[in-house]
């Protein structure tokens, strides 16, 4: 492979799901891959995440990436080990009033035009699909192709596949410097590689100063096992009533049934909080919001609460591609809350760029160079 030298062809910083997916994809292309992580696989946002494989339509670019990635997950489905807990449970976007029902119809039309199957549920159909929801609600949009996975196990599986193809894992190694084909570790070791990929999630800006990736904190609650309580990933549509704010803390109703029959209850998002402590005020608001939709959640036993940090960008799209100032350095970060969904597509786009092959979807919207252009106009 021309232009790729050193001890590895590609060195990936970060063993989260994005780094793991990139490692596997590049190893499949017969590149010598090394993965370095300060801790163990999935120890960051991946390990804290819910694991929703969801098609989203905030923007055409977001739709393209989530849709593409979802088809990749579906292709992989039969090969995934049981502990990845792949469950095609579908998503129901829950509408509480007429305005949200109008949004259901818009969303349905948008998905329909792009060949994503959906089903509009009226009040009775919603009740029938999810008897635990407060009744009556206005209705909802069922997206049957959405799925749920256990992200940590998925990342571990990708790394295992990569390792089977010769990828080397360097775990428990903190990187102090990443750039110009070199990676320096805290213990003084230097690793050389033709290409470097910064896939270190919310920590990416620490290794590559100047990129706009900020941690966005989230809380999650998991309950004990309650089979049959919720059947689909349930998300409120109410968020559409407001402009997307990046300034204040917010919560939204989002409940996910796990294959274990446990329920994951979210969600919250906060900027500017660096500590990982559970914050009772946010936790309470998040749970109260969930109780408004599913009153019976109140009595269920919660066994654990945790927090995590999503890597967020200002325009809600990830950074996938070369970092202009350093020809050896690529970025694969900024996936915010969609890193699990879009990990596989990210790996495909990354491989296309490194191998100079044609990508399946246009990759311009995700190129890091857009942040530099935005800076000029700012």
């Amino acid at each position: 492979m021309t232009g790729l030298t050193g001890t590895a062809d590609v060195l990936i910083a970060g063993a989260g799901i994005v780094g793991a997916a990139c490692a596997w994809e590049l190893a499949k292309a017969h590149l010598r891959v090394a993965v370095v992580d300060q801790s163990f696989p999935a120890s960051g946002a991946t390990g804290a995440a819910m694991g929703h494989i969801v098609v989203m339509d905030d923007s055409e670019a977001q739709f393209a990436l989530t849709r593409y990635s979802q088809t990749l997950w579906d292709e992989l489905r039969d090969d995934l080990p049981a502990n990845v807990e792949f469950d095609r449970c579908g998503t129901i976007w829950v509408a509480t009033d007429e305005a949200e029902l109008a949004e259901v119809r818009r969303k349905s039309a948008y998905y329909c035009e792009r060949a994503v199957p959906t089903e509009i549920l009226d009040s009775a159909a919603l009740q029938n699909a999810e008897p635990s929801l407060l009744a009556p609600l206005a209705g909802g949009l069922l997206v049957p192709g959405d799925s749920v996975v256990y992200p940590a196990a998925a990342a571990a599986y990708f790394l295992e596949r990569a390792a089977a193809l010769g990828a080397k894992l360097h775990l428990g190694k903190r990187i102090t410097k990443l750039g110009q084909g070199t990676t320096r570790l805290e213990d003084g070791t230097t690793l050389e590689a033709g290409k470097l990929i910064n896939a270190s999630g919310q920590l990416a800006a620490k290794l590559t100063p100047g990129i706009q990736v900020k941690p966005r904190k989230g809380h999650l609650v998991i309950t004990d096992r309650y089979p049959g309580t919720v059947h689909h990933q349930l998300v409120e549509l109410g968020y559409l009533k407001s402009a997307h704010s990046v300034a204040t803390d917010s919560v939204a109703f989002n409940v996910q049934p796990r294959k274990t029959s446990q329920l994951l209850i979210g969600s919250s998002r906060q900027y500017g909080v660096e500590h990982d402590k559970v914050e009772p005020v946010i936790l309470s608001r998040m749970l109260q919001r969930a109780f408004e939709y599913i009153p019976k959640l109140r009595a269920l036993s919660a066994i654990r609460v945790w927090t995590g940090f999503r890597p967020a960008t200002p325009d809600k799209l990830p950074l996938i591609g070369p970092c202009l100032e350093d020809p050896t350095l690529y970025l694969a970060t900024g996936h915010e809350g969609l890193g699990i969904t879009t990990s596989l597509a990210t790996a495909k786009l990354m491989a296309a760029q490194i191998l100079n092959s044609a990508p399946k979807i246009p990759m311009e919207p995700y190129l890091p160079s857009r942040q530099m252009v935005a800076d000029v106009h700012a």
Binding site: D224, R225, Y226, T260, S301
Partner: protein, 81 residues
């Protein structure tokens, strides 16, 4: 206070001394509190509220530690889930 209390474990009556915990009632009847994730029968281990092996359903509330709840007359206990 009467000497004994009768509760129902999976619909079968069990009589225990007043003050006995639900764990005792279960051990006197089915001897199994719950079915584990992989399908094993499980019964109390620590009997002090720490291990959660003795979880049962009491009066339609699931996942209660039977060792920490005293039997009350007519309690309906479901085990083996």
């Amino acid at each position: 206070m009467p000497e004994n209390v009768t509760v129902y474990v999976n619909d079968l009556p069990v009589t225990v001394p007043t003050g006995a915990t639900v764990a005792v009632a279960v051990m006197l009847s089915s001897n199994v509190c719950r079915t584990s994730v992989s399908g094993e029968p499980r019964a109390p281990l620590c009997a002090m509220g720490a291990c959660f092996e003795c979880r049962v359903e009491i009066n339609e509330v699931r996942h209660l530690r039977s060792c920490q709840v005293a039997c009350e007359p007519q309690m309906k206990i479901k085990v083996g889930r």
